[in-house]
Amino acid sequence: MSSHREAPEIAKDPAADSTDTYAFVSPDRPGTVTIIANFIPLQKPDGGPNFYEFASDVVYDIRICNTGSGFADIVYTFHFETMVRNPESFLYNTGQIKEITDTTWNRPQFYTLTRTENGTTRTLGTRLAVPPVNVGTRSTPDYAHLADQAVHTIGGRKVFAGQRADAFHVDLGSVFDLGGLRPFNQAHLIPLAKMDGINSVQSFNVHTIAIQVPISEVTRKGNKPTDVMSRDSVIAVWSTARRRTSRILDRSTGRYVGHGKLRQVSRLGNPLFNEVIVPMGKKDVWNIRKPGFDSAFAKYVLQPELAKLLPVLYPGDTFKNLKAYTKPRADLAAILLTGIPAGVVDGFQNFTGGRQADMLRLNVAVPPSDNPNNLGLVAGDAAGFPNGRRIDDDVVTIELRAIAGLTIPLVDPSYTVDGAASAIEDGTTNTNAPLLDVFPYLGLPGGGYQTEPGTTKAS
């Protein structure tokens, strides 16, 4: 979760595996929108000597649709190149890295950033530096300084690409152990002692691409909308990773060589969509499809497997009303596939039309909240998920509760919500690295030297 290793094929290709996508009006620069896409999941910070890095044979994209078509109108693309300064050394760094330009970093990365709109691609920046990974106290003694040096300003934009701390929190160990939610262990079909959730992602890093651009650069009319109820105020966002069609092992170098067109191998709009909505047999094909073709997956949203499992895993009257509810889940379809139409939530909409497409929809006319509630829209904070997604939004709880029936009354007032639907959670809190108040907002990545081992318990 939210999309870490979520499909069989992409789980074998971590360098192209998208993990989370965020989109929000920048709280410190409200005339801009920030879009962040994370890749390469569950990086153990001490994973040397070949530390995690962007793949130079993968192209990473942030895609924006501002017409409701389900197809990208604007694409920001990151092309990475890797330099090896001394191929005769096995070391990632041959001394301390105090500046991003230090030649002691043996494997620096750079990228070219392009922007494509209406079939025209424009290069925004070349040879943009990526920071090294956070090797440890000796090698990267002032990591914050290195990370700051990798924030590039291009006109009115800020861009960053590099390692960060994962900001997602979830109890993977329990959730994927037969749908366990530790705070509700006693109510589970296989009961265990009740306990707090464990944030499985806490000590892991990811690789991030991030842009902060003027809102007028991504809206349909090229302006900064102020009318929340206007369709022109809504943009929709997702990330993709692409590889060449074929990979051939070059026996002279021991490296793979790509041939052919770049083909999408991973995508991510709404958190958890492919993870818990799309069934195992369709996950791989979902990853290579464009959102505009998502009507083929709508049936899994309208009758989600997890909604059927909850009353089984938590038997008795826990989810009595959910169990009895057999109508198609129009609430989930609105949240995940079309956006929420006007008239459902007072004074709010992020509807993009009838085209069903898994995209993260953001109404940019909604200003940043002065008092953010990490349960977002369901808690009355329209600046949060599912209106875009802020880094600290607790999307696991929001989506668990939605699937458990909390949002059904938005479209079907006759439905009575089960008490558990308002309380259900995995019991984790954000125990990840502290977030920044400024771009790129994600916390600094954990250092290798500073890493402590996890559990070895087998029972």
Binding site: R244, T245, H259, G260, K261
Partner: protein, 85 residues
């Protein structure tokens, strides 16, 4: 000799190659006169992909491009070569 007949002929005459290295063309005389590279010929490694052996469709991948060729005879010769003949 028609183009199709010529290709069949080439496939047949190339069938005597040593195991593991199957020739797709005939001997040097034919190769020199009939398989001359055009000025637009690829000058890099190429991956050829026959996705469906029942079709005459061949996908050629080179660099960041792909070329789809519809040539049942060419596909047949590739299939024969892949089969060791």
């Amino acid at each position: 000799m028609s183009e199709t007949d010529r290709r069949k002929f080439l496939a047949i005459t190339g069938a005597g190659a040593a195991a593991g290295t199957v020739a797709l063309t005939a001997g040097p005389v034919f190769a020199a006169s009939e398989s001359r590279r055009s000025k637009d010929a690829a000058a890099e490694s190429v991956v050829a992909y026959v996705e469906d052996h029942r079709s005459g469709r061949l996908r050629l991948m080179l660099g960041d491009r792909e070329v789809v060729v519809h040539d049942r005879d060419l596909v047949t010769r590739i299939l024969n070569a892949a089969g060791g003949k």
